[in-house]
């Protein structure tokens, strides 16, 4: 992979950005996107893009509202077919995967969480086991264990028997996250999983995700609005602007005033963290 | 109105010049106005459904309610009402009525004292239920005239009809079944009755004491009654004792 210096890509540059491959290692790629674009009517929501996502990687998708983050994530999650280009997942074309096999490997949390009618948190989490036991399989011991594990990890055990519709915004988001974890997929696609969470729970969820990735090697693609959380927890950050990848690289490379201003259109100062060994950005 | 139903159900042949003015529940007012009749014979439901016919010509409402057991008298009243409205001289009307009455009493003697009650019925196409003609229906009136007993004494609606399950016919052992046969429905009805276990177990069927008669006009006047009798009696005579 020819390696272009990550953050020098000029947003008004040539239409087809250089493949934002992962400079770190030549590990086997989870997703390879070649010339993937999405168009609705005459609007090109995502311009043809090349992107490689490596197995076990924690990737943050950042960008202004309407930059195409959810559009890209929906295509990766096979919720909507790309208008152009091809996506391969784990070496095979995305469409080639049978439905349940794909769901055993990939779990997707949408941005707008639907209302789960008259279901308790535990019942909702148990739904996540469907790809494993299918329509007829027994809901076995292993399924029960993975449901309890998922509830424990998102510390939803105290609310396990509450109706999902009666939970607060943050609690409901964690309930759906529990369902995703119960899916035991090796790749998580999370669209703003921390939007409704308070800061403590944000850190809890993101540390859980990173710890899972370190321990079991699952790869996670997160859409995040908080650049500090992205830089603190993710291995790589890909920035979108008006449907184009304008920057991609390790947090250190992205976390600088000029790049952040190109991504968000806002002066941000980079400050060293008083007690921890990391930097964070503060709006000017 | 509904000349096709009349031609299908009545023996009298209707001249081609008779124009059909639509169903009784929605008269074609334009055509009625074009014909510009002197008088209109209609029953209450036509008047309720298309009141505008009164604008075209004076409406003589046909009697359609029979007191208990008075269905034959109603048939006569219908015939007389139509004749009077049409201006037929009284003597001809009496002669017509007398001719039919004598014909009926002649048939009555011919039959002698038949001890078996009759059940006039129209089985459903799916072989599970049947429409029986009870007290107050035209067949019942004719049976009375012919001195025959009507086997059905159960509840009936305003027109003397009743939809019943075949199980209700089980107690009518000893009766003679008079099955009305409608050409378009004959095929399927016969097939379903053939496969209906309960029908085969009914005593009159097991004893082959069942006759079929062609379709007739159940809501008519004296001519309809005569037509029904003309069909019933010969069929009864063919029946072995």
């Amino acid at each position: 992979m020819n390696e272009a210096p990550a953050h020098t890509i000029d947003p008004t540059g040539p239409l087809k950005a250089a493949p934002a491959g992962n400079p770190m290692t030549d590990a086997p790629s989870l997703f390879t996107l070649r010339n993937v674009g999405f168009r609705v009517g005459n609007r090109q929501l995502l311009h043809p893009t090349d992107l490689d996502i490596v197995k076990g990687e924690l990737l943050a998708l950042v960008g202004h509202n309407g930059s195409g983050k959810s559009t890209l994530l929906k295509m990766l999650a096979r919720q909507q077919p790309p208008s152009s280009g091809a996506i391969t997942f784990d070496g095979k074309p995305l469409q080639a995967w049978p439905a349940r096999a794909f769901s055993r490997r990939l779990a997707y949390l949408p941005q707008q969480i639907p209302s789960a009618p008259a279901m308790t948190v535990r019942e909702l989490t148990a739904m996540g086991r469907y790809p494993w036991h299918g329509a007829l399989g027994r809901f076995g011991r292993e399924d029960r264990e993975s449901v309890e594990r998922a509830l424990a990890r998102t510390n939803m055990l105290p609310l396990a028997d509450r109706l999902v519709d009666t939970l607060s915004g943050g609690e409901r988001q964690r309930a759906w996250l529990a369902m995703l974890l119960a899916q035991d997929a090796s790749c998580l696609l999370l669209d703003e999983p921390t939007a409704a969470l308070d800061v403590a729970h944000q850190i809890e969820v993101l540390s859980l995700v990173r710890q899972l990735s370190r321990a079991t090697g699952i790869s996670v693609v997160l859409v995040l609005h908080d650049i500090n959380m992205a830089s603190r927890f993710c291995d790589r950050i890909v920035a979108l602007h008006s449907g184009r990848v304008i920057a991609s690289g390790r947090p250190r490379e992205i976390m600088d005033g000029a790049t952040l201003e190109r991504i968000y259109g806002l002066r941000m100062d980079i400050v060293a963290h008083p007690s921890a060994d990391r930097i964070f950005a503060v709006p000017g | 109105s509904d000349t096709q139903y009349f031609r299908q159900r009545m023996p009298v042949s209707l001249p081609e010049t008779v124009a059909d003015i639509g169903p009784f529940w929605e008269i074609n007012l334009e055509r009625l106005a074009a014909i510009a009749p002197d008088a209109i014979l209609a029953n209450s439901s036509s008047l309720v459904m298309t009141p505008a016919i009164a604008d075209v010509a004076p409406v003589a409402q046909v009697p359609d309610r029979a007191a208990k057991g008075q269905r034959f008298e109603l048939a006569v009243a219908i015939m007389r009402h139509a004749a009077d409205t049409a201006g037929v001289p009284g003597s001809d009307v009496d002669a017509f009525q007398q001719r039919i009455e004598t014909r009926l009493s002649l048939m009555r003697q011919g039959l002698g004292r038949a001890d078996r009650p009759m059940l006039v019925l129209l089985p459903d196409q799916n072989g599970r239920r049947a429409m029986v003609y009870g007290e107050g229906s035209l067949p019942d009136a004719v049976l009375r005239k012919l001195g025959l007993a009507n086997a059905w004494s159960g509840p009936v609606n305003a027109n003397g009809l009743a939809q019943v399950g075949l199980d209700a016919l089980m107690p009518l052992a000893g009766a003679t079944f008079v099955q009305v046969e409608i050409p378009t429905l004959k095929l399927r009805t016969a097939r379903s009755l053939g496969r209906s276990a309960l029908w085969q177990r009914l005593e009159p069927i097991r004893a082959q004491r069942s006759i079929t008669i062609p379709q007739f006009h159940p809501f008519g006047g004296l001519p309809s009654a005569a037509h029904f009798a003309e069909m019933l009696v010969p069929a009864l005579e063919r029946l072995p004792a």
């Binding site: 919720q79 769901s103 | 139903y5 309720v48 459904m49 599970r128 239920r129 009809l161 009743a162 209906s196």
Partner: protein, 668 residues
């Protein structure tokens, strides 16, 4: 204020679950009572396995009473199961097994084969019925999956196709009177049996289909999360919906082919089960059990009073029992206003110049009116009358024209008002019960009107309609006009009155035919005063709808948003309900219950691309009028001198247009 009934699950023994238990016990009690009266002292086991066929009582017990009990249970299970699946997949309390046109397709196939291909039919009429049903379902599934198989797409195409089949069936019956009595009996759906044959066949067929559906119970539960999450859990929503709805429709078609239409069990059983066990909404098994208990209870109760009132068909009588049940559930239930997850299929494209399109509709209406006035089929074939001709055609044709135009506009706008206020694409004028009430008035007129006295159809049906309308309004008010509960009230009362009508029709006699035709509408008897009156009401309704167009736009956003911009949902819905009721009453008096116009025209208009509420109101009024004027013209001339009901013609005209619009939008 939105009440908080979705709080933590309360103890299981709710009022409704006690009710269900009582129902089951009562049903069993009746069974034992009836059996003992019929079979006397013999032990039932001995009777069941070794009946002495010489003894008439045992024969009746063995060939009629036992099969009837078995059939009631099997049919109740099948309809309850199918109804619950329909309501869970389509997420609409009004969805019932016959919704997707499978039953009307089966009915049409049966009638057509009897008339035109008797040979085809003799082998096995079930095959013909099933074939018709499956063909119709394939058509609906194809059209709906074009629009992403969303619930509203299924509902709308299903309703249109079933109305279309009913219209064709109505035409067949019109030209072949002899089938009338069978049609009436078939619509009443009696459980009478004369042997074990049909019970065995139905049990086997329904058993196989039911078993197949048991495999899909889990996907059904997952589908209730919404299409997106279901897809991410490895389920193809379209495939699961088509297979579930297909199997449920087959179940309904099997029952209908065997015993005819058993109304409202498929609607009431899931509703009662949902109230008794709210958390089991996506599990059809409790609904199936409730369905069995309900139908068994009704049929046995009818068996009890048969000696006195004659054999009353259970299918029709079911409405008499389930109707009040639904109304009670609506008034006592406290279902919160559940946000709808499935949106209407997005219209293909918004009209660039709606005012231009409105102008086109207006000219189309004027053209249709002129055509209807000036031309007509007569003795000498088609005749064109010059406008200056003496008054003959005017005198007879003008009242019909005014009646058709006014009633069409009234019904279309009323349908729009109800669908927006009650937030349900299936809300149609029938819900207000006026059509049925008017029909009831007519029955009373036929039965008890003394000979000689002539009541005008208008007065009689107005009295019936007013009575039912007041009842619906009072009950809906008690249910504080909450969308789902108001729907249940409308459906409940509607089904009760409908049952009375079907019972009257099934009892035979000439008036039955009159009522049957009235039910698909009749414009022939409209008088000038009535025509003018309905046009005035139509104009008033248009004005009121235009004035309150903001309520029509705000209510679909949900009670929370309406409340926050100062609209009290309850008051807005009461007002819109009242206006719709008046418009429906006026239209129904004149042309009878033409449900197609009220149900489908609002969807037709929005699929055509009208967006602003004011444009939609005007477009609805114009399209409704055009439909009925066209239907009147065609109805008057196609089978001259016999009339063809406008309801049938409107469905024949509207069906294809609607399917084309849905199909045209499938690219988005």
């Amino acid at each position: 204020m939105t009440d908080l009934s979705t709080a933590a699950p309360r103890p299981v023994l709710r009022g409704a679950s006690i009710g269900v238990a009582a129902l089951a016990i009562a049903a069993l009690g009746l069974v034992f009572f009836n059996l003992s009266t019929v079979a006397g002292s013999e032990s039932w086991l001995q009777l069941l396995f070794a009946p002495d066929l010489e003894d008439p009582r045992q024969t009746v017990a063995y060939f009629s009473t036992f099969p009837r009990i078995a059939l009631a249970i099997v049919t109740g299970l099948a309809l309850g199961f199918a109804g619950s699946v329909f309501q869970a997949v389509l997420r609409n309390p009004l969805a019932e097994p016959g919704l997707l046109g499978v039953t009307s397709g089966a009915q049409l196939a049966l009638a057509a084969s009897l008339l035109y291909a008797p040979a085809l039919w003799t082998e096995g009429y079930e095959l013909v019925a099933l074939g018709g049903g499956v063909f119709v379902f394939a058509l609906v599934a194809l059209a709906a999956s074009g629009r992403g198989a969303s619930a509203p797409a299924f509902i709308l195409t299903g309703v249109v196709v079933s109305l279309y089949c009913n219209a064709l069936y109505g035409l067949l019956i019109l030209f072949h009177h002899d089938f009338l009595s069978d049609l009436l009996a078939w619509q009443a759906g009696s459980l009478q049996q004369s042997g074990w044959q049909s019970v065995a066949r139905l049990t086997a067929q329904a058993g196989i289909v039911g078993l197949a559906m048991l495999f899909l119970l889990r996907p059904l539960r997952i589908l209730s999360l919404g299409d997106g999450p279901a897809r991410s859990l490895g389920l193809s929503p379209a495939l699961v919906k088509v297979s579930l709805l297909g199997l449920a429709s087959t179940l309904a078609a099997l029952v209908t082919a065997e015993i005819g239409i058993v109304g409202f069990i498929g609607l009431a059983a899931p509703a009662l089960a949902r109230h008794a066990w709210p958390r089991q909404f996506a599990n059809p098994i409790p609904a199936a059990l409730v369905g069995a208990a309900l139908l068994l209870f009704i049929d046995q109760a009818l068996g009890l009073i048969a000696p006195y009132a004659g054999d009353i068909p259970a299918g029709a009588a079911a409405g008499l029992f389930t109707g009040p049940l639904l109304a009670i559930l609506a008034v006592t239930g406290r279902q919160a206003d559940r946000p709808r997850t499935d949106r209407m299929p997005l219209p293909s494209r918004r009209l660039a110049r709606p005012s231009f399109a409105l102008g086109a509709l207006a000219t189309l209406l004027v053209l249709a009116a002129g055509l209807s006035l000036l031309t007509g089929f007569g003795d000498g074939g088609w005749q064109i009358v010059s406008p200056t001709d003496p008054d003959l055609p005017w005198h007879w044709r003008l009242p019909r024209l005014l009646g058709a135009a006014g009633a069409g506009a009234c019904l279309a706008i009323a349908g729009l008002l109800l669908q927006r206020a009650l937030r349900n694409p299936l809300a149609s004028p029938d819900l207000v019960g006026v059509g049925h009430g008017a029909g009831l008035g007519l029955i009373i007129a036929f039965m008890i009107v003394p000979a000689g006295a002539v009541w005008s159809k208008l007065a009689v049906s107005a009295a019936g309609a007013a009575a039912v309308l007041v009842l619906v309004a009072v009950l809906a008010r008690r249910a504080s006009f909450q969308p789902e509960r108001t729907l249940l009230v409308g459906v409940g009362l509607g089904s009760m009155v409908h049952a009375l009508l079907v019972l009257f029709l099934a009892s035979g006699g000439p008036n039955g035919a009159a009522l049957l035709s009235w039910f698909s509408g009749s414009i022939g008897a409209v008088r000038i005063a009535e025509g003018v009156m309905v046009c005035v009401v139509a104009l008033a309704t248009v004005v009121v709808a235009l004035v309150f167009h903001r309520w029509l736009a705000a209510l679909p956003l949900g009670d929370q948003t309406s409340l926050s911009i100062g609209i009290t949902p309850r008051i807005a819905r009461t007002m819109l309900f009242a206006v719709a009721a008046v418009a429906i009453a006026a239209a129904t008096m004149i042309v009878g219950p033409v449900s197609f116009v009220g149900l489908i025209v609002p969807h037709l208009v929005s699929q055509a691309g009208f967006q602003r509420t004011r444009d939609i109101v005007l477009a609805c009024a114009l399209s409704g009028a055009i439909f009925l004027v066209g239907a009147d013209f065609i109805g008057r001339n196609l089978a001259w001198p016999w009339p063809m009901a406008p309801g049938l013609i409107a469905a024949l005209l509207g069906g294809p247009i609607f399917l084309w619009l849905i199909w045209r939008g499938r690219s988005q």
